[in-house]
Symmetry: C2
Subunit: 380 residues, 2 copies
């Protein structure tokens, strides 16, 4: 036993050292500290800094005016410095959610050195924290049966390339029993990882399935940008910095390629390959893709979900009624007005849909909510 203890000390030493080096000359600051009353304290030891701010999606949005319109920018708050150089700020009581934030030190955006958890949203790396409770408990890893998450590749003859796709297989998936499929599409700038990392899809599905609120289903999350084979760092572009080369993204090519994906999924996974067991949903550009694919192939899908969807002004009303046509948007979303117009079109054509409106804008907080609302309605 003593020899094992000595070895442990020996192996732990460089890790402890690493931890020390990780904080470098910093004073250890507990940050973020989520309190029992759901306020959150942010701290940074930065004695030489002139200003420290926290920016995040839990703070009231600030409107930003640009030549093409007014958009929601993230809110921010100023941390206060104590005599020793420890900066600190405590939030109001927050709604339970999975939040993003960054710290701004003398104008430089940094991740919180006390917080090891980050997400990448397009080219922006931010920290995350969780305020537990209510709906946010669906975003947690809970002690329930877990599905399997895969990243795999399929060939698209239409696009003449291999493409990466993320796939959630439900807990009972065993290669024998067949399951329904939800195709879940990301927005512009996102990629095949976005619904998993920012959208918490695996956790949401695990938890909805465990409670009996949703049916077991396969969730297929492809890359929606036809100019890319895969998201940043996952294609032959490797660590080229993410760019927005999006010229072909909304010209209909993704929609044209969709049968390649469908045929890959139905031939490689145990799917129930009929419209009664197939859904398509997406956010923003992914809603646009979903609307187009569902409109062109009403024979494929009984279920359609449009989350904060991008709508072309003079879009046609779908020619065929889907069993479920679900539209969700936040009242502060910059795409709110086109969605009002689209619903008016549906109404004028007596097209049945479910409408879900809440507060907030064009952000992941809302897209997670829409998934938790939409998934339980499927395949029943």
């Amino acid at each position: 036993m003593r020899k094992i203890c000595s070895l442990l000390v020996l192996l732990l030493a460089p890790i402890t050292l690493l931890a020390q080096q990780a904080v470098w000359k910093e004073k250890a600051a507990l940050s973020p500290e989520v309190h029992a009353d759901r306020t959150v304290t942010f701290r940074l030891f930065a004695p030489k800094a002139e200003s420290v701010q926290v920016r995040g999606d839990f703070l009231p949005i600030k409107k930003v005016v640009t030549p093409v319109g007014t958009f929601d920018g993230p809110g921010y708050a100023d941390l206060e410095r104590d005599a020793e150089g420890l900066w600190e700020w405590t939030s109001d009581v927050l709604r339970p959610d999975y939040y993003q934030y960054s710290l701004i030190v003398d104008g430089i955006k940094i991740i919180d050195p006390s917080n090891a958890y980050t997400v990448r949203d397009v080219a922006n790396v931010a920290n995350v924290f969780l305020v537990e409770g209510e709906r946010a408990d669906l975003y947690k890893v809970c002690d329930v049966p877990h599905g399997t998450v895969q990243r795999t590749w399929y060939n698209s003859a239409t696009l003449a390339c291999d493409r990466r796709v993320a796939i959630y297989l439900p807990p009972s998936y065993d290669g024998q029993k067949r399951f329904p499929v939800l195709y879940l599409l990301h927005g512009m700038g996102g990629d095949e990882d976005a619904w998993l990392t920012l959208g918490r899809t695996a956790q949401i599905l695990d938890n909805l399935i465990a409670s009996g609120a949703a049916e077991e289903m396969i969730v297929v999350m492809p890359n929606g940008n036809v100019d890319m084979q895969a998201g940043p760092a996952e294609s032959v572009w490797n660590l080229r910095q993410p760019t927005m080369e999006l010229e072909h993204t909304m010209e209909g090519t993704f929609e044209k390629h969709f049968p390649d994906l469908l045929s890959f999924v139905d031939s490689h996974y145990c799917t129930l390959a009929d419209k009664e067991h197939r859904a398509i949903a997406g956010l923003s550009m992914g809603g646009y893709h979903s609307r187009n694919i569902a409109a062109e192939h009403p024979e494929l899908f009984d279920y359609v979900g449009l989350f904060s969807t991008a709508i072309i002004k003079d879009a046609d009303c779908p020619s065929q009624q889907h069993k479920l046509y679900w539209i969700g948007i936040g009242e502060d979303d910059f795409l709110y007005e086109p969605n009002v117009a689209y619903r008016a079109l549906l109404d004028a054509n007596n097209y049945r849909y479910i409408y879900y409106e809440n507060d907030g804008g064009h952000i992941w907080i809302n897209w997670r909510i829409y998934l938790t609302e939409f998934a339980p309605l499927l395949f029943k």
Copy 2:
């Protein structure tokens, strides 16, 4: 077409805005810039900073003395400020590799705001960059057939819990053809994601298989810490900050649980379930686990790999000769001496092994090298 263009502008605007917000008040700085001559320039616009350093595994290590021994610490270099507040430093010519770095601004470790690519190593988040060429081309995503990467869960009766495991399935895996299996174990402080994110295992296997250098194989990467069900953010501990609660990690419990993992893999995947088609390898603590499991179950493995392995001083020589017993370590590794002693023991017992020694210390640069050396020797 015009309506699509307008929509594109509308959808792009908030992304552009996000990008602007991401750089906040910063001047856009290209960083890191990898030059054709394999020097690399780091830049940060920080007019108010008093000092900016870059720290990384491409810089000469600095010895750090602690009460329990002398360890390798990362090297660092000072950036120089220009009149406008742009800090800059250019490296010497670097060996091709996949490197980690952080910037240190007035003592605070930050990630480079110009670089969207990060990895987490234990609780330390760092940026990464790639210098292409030679062996490092094995670490790139190349235009070759790609395997599938899964994260799934298995039940361990021994540990009385579900545990997360990462699994690489080779490009030809189709649920019918059977493949050999490499069990690949991480070090202390690592988790089931470490060999994928830091070790570039999927890229290395894809590339070695594509060139014919390695056989197609399944790679199983479990979590080696029996006190955890899964790595940080992936267990019911959710976003609790990573800690080093390692008291049971090297007391033999992981080894005892191993048959649970083996039985899960052989019953859920198309494996060739015999010793001729089974290998086990690991780094540091994972080498220690591999050595113990292989010594206790010589009937299970023809191939054993010990990378920078942790060795108990008076370990016994394995009682049975494995077909391949591969030992790799860097001459600067703090575990070098115990490995010398272990090889002397093997020599004294006429135990056959292959020995690979290179420069450098106890770092991922070496563990990637060992994987690229070891994998081609398997199942032949």
